[in-house]
Amino acid sequence: MPIDKSVSTFEEAVSDIPDGASIMIGGFGGAGGMPHRLMLALVAQGARELTIIGNTAGIAAPTGFGWPEGETPIDHAILIENGQVAKVIASFPVSGSVSRQNAFEQAFNRGEIELEVVPQGTLAERIRAGGAGIPAFYTPTAAGTDLAKGQESRVFDGRESVLELGMRADFALIRAHKADRVGNLIYSGTSRSFNMPMATAADVTIAEVDEIVETGDIDPERVNTPGIYVNRVVARATDR
Protein backbone atom coordinates (compact mmCIF):
# COMPACT_ATOMS: atom_id res chain seq x y z
CA MET A 1 0.00 0.00 0.00
CA PRO A 2 1.42 3.43 -0.85
CA ILE A 3 2.58 5.47 2.12
CA ASP A 4 0.10 8.15 3.10
CA LYS A 5 0.85 10.20 6.22
CA SER A 6 -1.95 12.65 5.63
CA VAL A 7 -4.54 13.09 8.33
CA SER A 8 -7.80 14.73 7.42
CA THR A 9 -8.38 16.98 10.44
CA PHE A 10 -6.33 18.88 13.00
CA GLU A 11 -8.51 17.34 15.70
CA GLU A 12 -7.49 13.84 14.64
CA ALA A 13 -3.83 14.88 14.28
CA VAL A 14 -3.48 15.77 17.99
CA SER A 15 -6.06 13.34 19.44
CA ASP A 16 -3.51 11.02 21.12
CA ILE A 17 -1.43 13.67 22.96
CA PRO A 18 -1.67 12.63 26.62
CA ASP A 19 -1.53 14.69 29.82
CA GLY A 20 2.08 15.30 30.85
CA ALA A 21 3.46 15.12 27.29
CA SER A 22 6.51 17.12 26.20
CA ILE A 23 5.75 19.04 23.02
CA MET A 24 8.07 21.01 20.75
CA ILE A 25 6.30 23.89 19.03
CA GLY A 26 8.00 25.22 15.90
CA GLY A 27 8.46 28.73 14.57
CA PHE A 28 10.54 31.73 15.60
CA GLY A 29 7.90 33.80 17.38
CA GLY A 30 5.80 35.54 14.76
CA ALA A 31 2.95 34.37 12.57
CA GLY A 32 5.21 32.66 10.03
CA GLY A 33 6.18 29.07 10.76
CA MET A 34 3.79 28.76 13.68
CA PRO A 35 1.44 25.71 13.79
CA HIS A 36 -1.65 27.72 14.69
CA ARG A 37 -4.26 25.17 13.76
CA LEU A 38 -2.52 22.37 15.64
CA MET A 39 -2.34 24.58 18.74
CA LEU A 40 -6.02 25.47 18.46
CA ALA A 41 -6.82 21.75 18.14
CA LEU A 42 -4.68 21.03 21.22
CA VAL A 43 -6.60 23.63 23.21
CA ALA A 44 -9.85 21.92 22.20
CA GLN A 45 -8.37 18.48 22.95
CA GLY A 46 -7.45 19.65 26.45
CA ALA A 47 -4.28 17.68 27.40
CA ARG A 48 -2.81 19.16 30.59
CA GLU A 49 0.45 19.32 32.55
CA LEU A 50 2.30 19.81 29.29
CA THR A 51 5.96 20.77 28.88
CA ILE A 52 6.24 23.02 25.87
CA ILE A 53 9.55 23.64 24.14
CA GLY A 54 9.86 26.58 21.77
CA ASN A 55 11.89 29.65 20.91
CA THR A 56 9.30 31.77 22.74
CA ALA A 57 6.48 31.06 25.16
CA GLY A 58 4.03 33.06 23.05
CA ILE A 59 5.12 36.69 22.78
CA ALA A 60 3.03 38.02 19.93
CA ALA A 61 -0.08 39.25 21.73
CA PRO A 62 1.50 42.15 23.73
CA THR A 63 3.66 43.60 20.94
CA GLY A 64 2.45 42.11 17.64
CA PHE A 65 5.89 40.51 17.09
CA GLY A 66 5.96 39.13 13.55
CA TRP A 67 2.20 39.54 12.99
CA PRO A 68 0.48 41.63 10.33
CA GLU A 69 -1.21 44.67 11.77
CA GLY A 70 -4.83 44.09 12.75
CA GLU A 71 -4.60 40.30 13.05
CA THR A 72 -5.09 38.64 16.44
CA PRO A 73 -2.02 36.54 17.26
CA ILE A 74 -2.43 32.82 17.92
CA ASP A 75 0.55 31.25 19.66
CA HIS A 76 1.64 29.33 22.80
CA ALA A 77 -0.31 31.83 24.88
CA ILE A 78 -3.60 30.06 24.07
CA LEU A 79 -2.34 26.86 25.73
CA ILE A 80 -1.09 28.81 28.75
CA GLU A 81 -4.32 30.78 29.10
CA ASN A 82 -6.20 27.47 29.00
CA GLY A 83 -4.15 26.18 31.96
CA GLN A 84 -2.59 23.30 29.99
CA VAL A 85 1.11 24.10 30.54
CA ALA A 86 3.21 23.03 33.54
CA LYS A 87 6.65 23.91 32.18
CA VAL A 88 8.20 26.02 29.45
CA ILE A 89 11.64 25.57 27.89
CA ALA A 90 12.44 28.64 25.74
CA SER A 91 15.07 31.24 24.88
CA PHE A 92 12.68 34.21 24.64
CA PRO A 93 9.84 33.43 27.05
CA VAL A 94 8.49 36.90 27.78
CA SER A 95 7.41 39.98 25.86
CA GLY A 96 10.12 42.31 24.61
CA SER A 97 8.30 45.06 26.51
CA VAL A 98 8.69 45.07 30.30
CA SER A 99 5.39 46.90 30.72
CA ARG A 100 3.31 44.61 28.46
CA GLN A 101 3.31 41.09 29.88
CA ASN A 102 2.39 37.99 27.92
CA ALA A 103 0.22 35.19 29.32
CA PHE A 104 3.35 33.24 30.23
CA GLU A 105 4.84 36.01 32.40
CA GLN A 106 1.56 36.45 34.26
CA ALA A 107 1.32 32.71 34.94
CA PHE A 108 5.02 32.55 35.88
CA ASN A 109 4.58 35.40 38.35
CA ARG A 110 1.61 33.56 39.91
CA GLY A 111 3.91 30.55 40.37
CA GLU A 112 1.88 28.35 38.04
CA ILE A 113 4.51 27.49 35.44
CA GLU A 114 8.10 26.30 35.69
CA LEU A 115 10.67 27.87 33.33
CA GLU A 116 13.97 26.72 31.85
CA VAL A 117 15.70 29.46 29.85
CA VAL A 118 18.14 28.19 27.21
CA PRO A 119 20.25 30.37 24.89
CA GLN A 120 18.69 30.28 21.43
CA GLY A 121 21.67 28.68 19.70
CA THR A 122 22.05 26.12 22.47
CA LEU A 123 18.33 25.33 22.25
CA ALA A 124 18.52 24.82 18.49
CA GLU A 125 21.66 22.70 18.78
CA ARG A 126 20.30 20.62 21.67
CA ILE A 127 17.27 19.82 19.52
CA ARG A 128 19.43 19.11 16.46
CA ALA A 129 21.62 16.82 18.59
CA GLY A 130 18.55 15.11 20.07
CA GLY A 131 17.34 14.32 16.58
CA ALA A 132 20.74 13.09 15.45
CA GLY A 133 21.43 10.70 18.31
CA ILE A 134 24.08 12.92 19.91
CA PRO A 135 23.55 12.69 23.69
CA ALA A 136 25.59 15.79 24.55
CA PHE A 137 28.05 18.37 23.23
CA TYR A 138 30.27 21.18 24.50
CA THR A 139 29.78 24.86 23.68
CA PRO A 140 31.32 28.08 25.01
CA THR A 141 27.89 29.76 24.93
CA ALA A 142 26.72 30.51 28.51
CA ALA A 143 30.06 29.54 30.12
CA GLY A 144 30.56 31.61 33.25
CA THR A 145 26.91 32.72 33.38
CA ASP A 146 23.96 31.83 35.61
CA LEU A 147 22.48 29.71 32.80
CA ALA A 148 25.40 27.27 33.05
CA LYS A 149 25.42 27.00 36.84
CA GLY A 150 26.00 23.44 37.97
CA GLN A 151 26.78 22.21 34.45
CA GLU A 152 29.96 20.29 33.69
CA SER A 153 32.56 22.31 31.83
CA ARG A 154 35.89 21.75 30.11
CA VAL A 155 38.49 24.01 28.57
CA PHE A 156 39.16 23.61 24.84
CA ASP A 157 41.78 25.82 23.17
CA GLY A 158 41.87 27.97 26.29
CA ARG A 159 38.13 28.56 26.28
CA GLU A 160 35.70 27.26 28.88
CA SER A 161 32.86 25.28 27.33
CA VAL A 162 29.81 23.80 29.02
CA LEU A 163 28.30 20.39 28.48
CA GLU A 164 24.81 20.59 26.99
CA LEU A 165 22.47 17.63 26.57
CA GLY A 166 20.64 16.70 23.41
CA MET A 167 16.90 17.28 23.71
CA ARG A 168 13.95 15.25 22.48
CA ALA A 169 10.21 15.45 23.00
CA ASP A 170 7.19 13.19 22.80
CA PHE A 171 5.60 15.31 20.06
CA ALA A 172 6.66 18.08 17.70
CA LEU A 173 4.02 20.39 16.24
CA ILE A 174 5.59 22.06 13.24
CA ARG A 175 4.53 24.24 10.34
CA ALA A 176 5.67 23.97 6.74
CA HIS A 177 4.42 25.27 3.42
CA LYS A 178 3.89 22.06 1.49
CA ALA A 179 3.97 18.33 2.13
CA ASP A 180 3.58 15.23 0.01
CA ARG A 181 1.99 12.01 1.24
CA VAL A 182 5.31 10.47 2.32
CA GLY A 183 5.90 13.49 4.57
CA ASN A 184 8.55 15.39 2.63
CA LEU A 185 8.32 19.06 3.57
CA ILE A 186 9.10 22.41 1.99
CA TYR A 187 9.13 25.63 4.03
CA SER A 188 8.86 29.30 3.10
CA GLY A 189 11.56 31.87 3.89
CA THR A 190 12.38 32.42 7.54
CA SER A 191 9.76 29.89 8.60
CA ARG A 192 12.37 27.11 8.63
CA SER A 193 13.52 28.41 12.04
CA PHE A 194 12.91 25.85 14.78
CA ASN A 195 10.60 23.75 12.60
CA MET A 196 13.43 21.97 10.82
CA PRO A 197 15.43 20.83 13.87
CA MET A 198 12.25 20.03 15.85
CA ALA A 199 10.94 17.81 13.04
CA THR A 200 13.85 15.46 13.72
CA ALA A 201 13.69 15.32 17.52
CA ALA A 202 10.27 14.00 18.54
CA ASP A 203 8.74 10.53 18.79
CA VAL A 204 5.76 11.85 16.81
CA THR A 205 6.19 14.79 14.44
CA ILE A 206 3.00 16.40 13.16
CA ALA A 207 3.28 18.95 10.36
CA GLU A 208 0.66 21.59 9.61
CA VAL A 209 1.00 22.68 5.99
CA ASP A 210 -0.76 24.95 3.56
CA GLU A 211 -1.33 22.09 1.15
CA ILE A 212 -0.64 18.40 0.67
CA VAL A 213 0.37 17.38 -2.83
CA GLU A 214 0.61 13.94 -4.41
CA THR A 215 3.81 11.99 -3.89
CA GLY A 216 6.08 12.89 -6.78
CA ASP A 217 4.83 16.44 -7.00
CA ILE A 218 7.60 17.80 -4.76
CA ASP A 219 10.95 18.04 -6.54
CA PRO A 220 13.39 15.93 -4.48
CA GLU A 221 16.02 18.65 -5.08
CA ARG A 222 13.85 21.07 -3.10
CA VAL A 223 12.91 18.96 -0.07
CA ASN A 224 13.90 20.68 3.20
CA THR A 225 12.75 18.03 5.70
CA PRO A 226 12.85 14.47 4.34
CA GLY A 227 9.76 12.43 5.14
CA ILE A 228 11.65 10.04 7.43
CA TYR A 229 11.19 12.55 10.26
CA VAL A 230 7.50 13.22 9.75
CA ASN A 231 4.67 11.05 11.06
CA ARG A 232 1.54 13.03 10.19
CA VAL A 233 0.72 15.84 7.81
CA VAL A 234 -2.46 17.86 7.90
CA ALA A 235 -3.44 20.61 5.50
CA ARG A 236 -5.02 23.98 6.22
CA ALA A 237 -6.49 23.91 2.72
CA THR A 238 -8.71 20.88 3.38
CA ASP A 239 -9.63 21.33 7.06
CA ARG A 240 -11.38 24.63 7.52
Partner: protein, 227 residues
Protein backbone atom coordinates in the same frame (compact mmCIF):
# COMPACT_ATOMS: atom_id res chain seq x y z
CA UNK B 1 19.20 60.53 30.02
CA UNK B 2 20.81 63.83 30.87
CA UNK B 3 22.19 64.57 34.33
CA UNK B 4 22.66 67.83 36.26
CA UNK B 5 26.43 67.75 35.98
CA UNK B 6 26.43 67.30 32.18
CA UNK B 7 28.66 69.94 30.57
CA UNK B 8 27.00 69.58 27.16
CA UNK B 9 24.10 67.70 25.54
CA UNK B 10 24.29 63.96 25.08
CA UNK B 11 24.22 62.68 21.51
CA UNK B 12 21.06 61.46 19.82
CA UNK B 13 20.65 57.75 19.12
CA UNK B 14 21.17 58.35 15.40
CA UNK B 15 24.56 59.97 16.02
CA UNK B 16 25.58 57.08 18.23
CA UNK B 17 24.52 54.65 15.49
CA UNK B 18 26.46 56.73 12.93
CA UNK B 19 29.61 56.42 15.07
CA UNK B 20 29.18 52.64 15.39
CA UNK B 21 28.70 52.30 11.63
CA UNK B 22 32.23 53.66 11.06
CA UNK B 23 33.53 50.40 12.50
CA UNK B 24 32.15 48.34 9.61
CA UNK B 25 34.51 47.20 6.87
CA UNK B 26 33.54 46.44 3.30
CA UNK B 27 32.33 42.84 3.07
CA UNK B 28 31.74 42.33 6.80
CA UNK B 29 29.02 39.91 7.87
CA UNK B 30 27.11 41.87 10.48
CA UNK B 31 24.40 40.96 12.99
CA UNK B 32 22.61 43.92 14.60
CA UNK B 33 20.69 43.59 17.85
CA UNK B 34 17.35 45.20 18.57
CA UNK B 35 17.14 48.97 19.36
CA UNK B 36 20.05 51.37 18.79
CA UNK B 37 22.06 48.63 16.96
CA UNK B 38 19.36 48.30 14.28
CA UNK B 39 19.75 52.02 13.49
CA UNK B 40 23.38 51.46 12.45
CA UNK B 41 22.26 50.07 9.09
CA UNK B 42 21.02 53.57 8.16
CA UNK B 43 24.54 55.03 8.40
CA UNK B 44 26.81 52.59 6.63
CA UNK B 45 29.60 54.61 4.99
CA UNK B 46 29.61 54.93 1.18
CA UNK B 47 31.54 52.16 -0.52
CA UNK B 48 31.01 49.73 2.34
CA UNK B 49 28.87 46.72 1.40
CA UNK B 50 27.72 44.55 4.30
CA UNK B 51 26.09 41.14 4.47
CA UNK B 52 23.45 41.23 7.18
CA UNK B 53 22.77 38.06 9.13
CA UNK B 54 19.65 37.57 11.21
CA UNK B 55 19.13 34.65 13.56
CA UNK B 56 15.56 34.40 12.27
CA UNK B 57 17.25 32.45 9.47
CA UNK B 58 18.25 34.83 6.69
CA UNK B 59 21.55 36.07 5.28
CA UNK B 60 22.07 39.08 3.07
CA UNK B 61 18.80 40.62 4.19
CA UNK B 62 17.82 44.08 3.12
CA UNK B 63 15.63 46.90 4.32
CA UNK B 64 12.34 46.64 6.18
CA UNK B 65 9.24 46.06 4.05
CA UNK B 66 6.96 49.02 3.42
CA UNK B 67 3.93 49.26 5.70
CA UNK B 68 1.31 46.70 4.74
CA UNK B 69 3.72 44.89 2.37
CA UNK B 70 4.98 42.44 4.97
CA UNK B 71 5.28 38.70 4.42
CA UNK B 72 5.04 36.61 7.61
CA UNK B 73 7.65 34.24 6.18
CA UNK B 74 10.28 36.98 5.86
CA UNK B 75 11.14 38.51 9.23
CA UNK B 76 14.21 39.68 11.11
CA UNK B 77 15.07 38.69 14.68
CA UNK B 78 12.99 41.59 15.97
CA UNK B 79 9.89 40.22 14.25
CA UNK B 80 9.89 43.02 11.65
CA UNK B 81 8.96 42.25 8.05
CA UNK B 82 11.76 42.47 5.47
CA UNK B 83 11.81 43.39 1.83
CA UNK B 84 13.01 40.56 -0.41
CA UNK B 85 16.34 41.36 -2.08
CA UNK B 86 18.52 39.48 -4.58
CA UNK B 87 21.13 37.17 -3.05
CA UNK B 88 19.29 36.25 0.12
CA UNK B 89 19.53 32.79 1.61
CA UNK B 90 17.33 31.06 4.17
CA UNK B 91 18.23 28.49 6.79
CA UNK B 92 16.90 26.95 9.99
CA UNK B 93 17.75 27.99 13.56
CA UNK B 94 20.43 25.34 14.11
CA UNK B 95 22.28 26.58 11.04
CA UNK B 96 21.67 30.26 11.90
CA UNK B 97 23.50 29.65 15.16
CA UNK B 98 26.15 27.42 13.61
CA UNK B 99 27.06 30.55 11.63
CA UNK B 100 27.21 32.61 14.83
CA UNK B 101 28.94 30.05 17.02
CA UNK B 102 31.25 28.94 14.23
CA UNK B 103 32.84 32.38 14.01
CA UNK B 104 31.31 33.35 10.65
CA UNK B 105 29.94 36.69 11.91
CA UNK B 106 32.50 39.51 11.70
CA UNK B 107 30.76 42.11 13.84
CA UNK B 108 27.77 42.17 16.14
CA UNK B 109 26.36 45.33 17.69
CA UNK B 110 24.36 44.75 20.86
CA UNK B 111 22.58 46.95 23.35
CA UNK B 112 23.46 46.30 26.97
CA UNK B 113 22.29 46.92 30.52
CA UNK B 114 25.88 46.88 31.82
CA UNK B 115 29.38 46.43 30.42
CA UNK B 116 32.30 45.89 32.78
CA UNK B 117 35.81 47.34 32.68
CA UNK B 118 37.07 44.03 31.29
CA UNK B 119 34.38 43.70 28.63
CA UNK B 120 31.90 41.45 30.41
CA UNK B 121 28.40 42.04 29.06
CA UNK B 122 25.13 41.85 31.02
CA UNK B 123 22.16 42.46 28.76
CA UNK B 124 19.56 39.74 29.18
CA UNK B 125 18.18 39.81 32.70
CA UNK B 126 16.84 42.75 34.64
CA UNK B 127 16.70 41.59 38.28
CA UNK B 128 13.69 43.78 39.02
CA UNK B 129 11.66 41.87 36.38
CA UNK B 130 12.62 38.44 37.70
CA UNK B 131 12.46 36.78 34.28
CA UNK B 132 14.35 37.54 31.09
CA UNK B 133 14.84 36.78 27.41
CA UNK B 134 18.29 35.49 26.59
CA UNK B 135 17.39 34.92 22.93
CA UNK B 136 20.55 34.80 20.85
CA UNK B 137 22.52 37.27 22.98
CA UNK B 138 24.84 34.74 24.63
CA UNK B 139 25.58 33.09 21.30
CA UNK B 140 26.27 36.38 19.53
CA UNK B 141 28.33 37.89 22.35
CA UNK B 142 30.45 34.77 22.58
CA UNK B 143 30.56 33.83 18.90
CA UNK B 144 31.04 36.98 16.80
CA UNK B 145 34.61 38.01 15.99
CA UNK B 146 34.00 41.55 17.21
CA UNK B 147 31.38 42.66 19.74
CA UNK B 148 30.42 46.34 19.95
CA UNK B 149 28.22 47.50 22.82
CA UNK B 150 26.04 50.45 21.76
CA UNK B 151 24.05 51.99 24.58
CA UNK B 152 23.22 55.07 26.58
CA UNK B 153 25.94 55.90 29.08
CA UNK B 154 23.60 56.08 32.08
CA UNK B 155 20.29 54.33 32.72
CA UNK B 156 16.98 56.01 33.54
CA UNK B 157 17.94 56.31 37.21
CA UNK B 158 21.27 57.90 36.28
CA UNK B 159 23.28 54.79 37.15
CA UNK B 160 26.38 54.19 35.06
CA UNK B 161 25.96 51.33 32.59
CA UNK B 162 29.74 51.03 32.42
CA UNK B 163 30.80 49.40 35.67
CA UNK B 164 33.91 47.97 37.29
CA UNK B 165 32.12 44.62 37.60
CA UNK B 166 28.62 43.73 36.39
CA UNK B 167 26.03 43.36 39.14
CA UNK B 168 23.40 41.98 36.75
CA UNK B 169 23.59 38.38 35.49
CA UNK B 170 26.21 38.04 32.75
CA UNK B 171 25.59 37.38 29.08
CA UNK B 172 29.23 36.64 28.26
CA UNK B 173 32.61 37.24 29.84
CA UNK B 174 35.25 39.50 28.31
CA UNK B 175 33.49 39.69 24.94
CA UNK B 176 33.16 43.46 24.30
CA UNK B 177 36.01 45.19 22.49
CA UNK B 178 34.40 48.59 21.85
CA UNK B 179 31.79 50.57 23.79
CA UNK B 180 29.96 53.44 22.09
CA UNK B 181 27.69 55.52 24.29
CA UNK B 182 25.92 58.85 23.88
CA UNK B 183 28.95 60.65 25.38
CA UNK B 184 32.03 58.46 24.95
CA UNK B 185 33.84 55.74 23.03
CA UNK B 186 36.04 53.23 24.87
CA UNK B 187 38.37 50.52 23.67
CA UNK B 188 38.15 47.49 25.93
CA UNK B 189 40.60 44.67 26.50
CA UNK B 190 41.68 42.44 29.38
CA UNK B 191 43.67 45.35 30.83
CA UNK B 192 40.61 47.58 31.08
CA UNK B 193 39.03 50.59 29.45
CA UNK B 194 40.66 53.28 27.33
CA UNK B 195 38.67 56.43 26.59
CA UNK B 196 39.35 57.27 22.94
CA UNK B 197 36.57 59.70 21.98
CA UNK B 198 34.23 62.12 23.73
CA UNK B 199 31.08 63.95 22.67
CA UNK B 200 31.51 67.68 21.84
CA UNK B 201 31.81 69.72 25.04
CA UNK B 202 32.77 66.74 27.19
CA UNK B 203 36.20 66.32 28.83
CA UNK B 204 37.56 63.09 30.35
CA UNK B 205 36.82 64.37 33.87
CA UNK B 206 33.14 64.93 32.87
CA UNK B 207 32.99 61.34 31.63
CA UNK B 208 34.62 60.11 34.81
CA UNK B 209 31.98 61.90 36.91
CA UNK B 210 29.17 59.78 35.39
CA UNK B 211 31.10 56.48 35.01
CA UNK B 212 31.39 53.84 37.74
CA UNK B 213 34.55 52.32 36.35
CA UNK B 214 38.19 53.32 36.10
CA UNK B 215 39.60 54.06 32.68
CA UNK B 216 42.78 55.26 30.98
CA UNK B 217 42.60 58.26 28.67
CA UNK B 218 44.14 57.79 25.23
CA UNK B 219 47.02 60.19 24.55
CA UNK B 220 45.38 61.08 21.23
CA UNK B 221 41.81 61.40 22.55
CA UNK B 222 39.43 63.03 20.04
CA UNK B 223 35.94 64.31 19.66
CA UNK B 224 33.48 61.73 18.25
CA UNK B 225 34.63 60.86 14.74
CA UNK B 226 31.61 60.62 12.50
CA UNK B 227 33.14 60.83 9.01
Amino acid sequence: MSMPQDPAPRLERDILAMRVAREFNDGDVVNLGIGIPTLCSDFVPPGVQLLYHSESGVLNCGPLAADGQGNVDLINAGGQFLEPVPGMSFFDSAEAFAMIRGGHIDVTVLGSLQVSATGDMANWFLPSRGVGNVGGAMDLAGGAKKVIAAMEHNDRTGASKIVQECSYPLTSQGCVSLIVTDIAVFNVDENGLELIEVAPGWAPENISAVTDAQFEVAHDIKEFELL
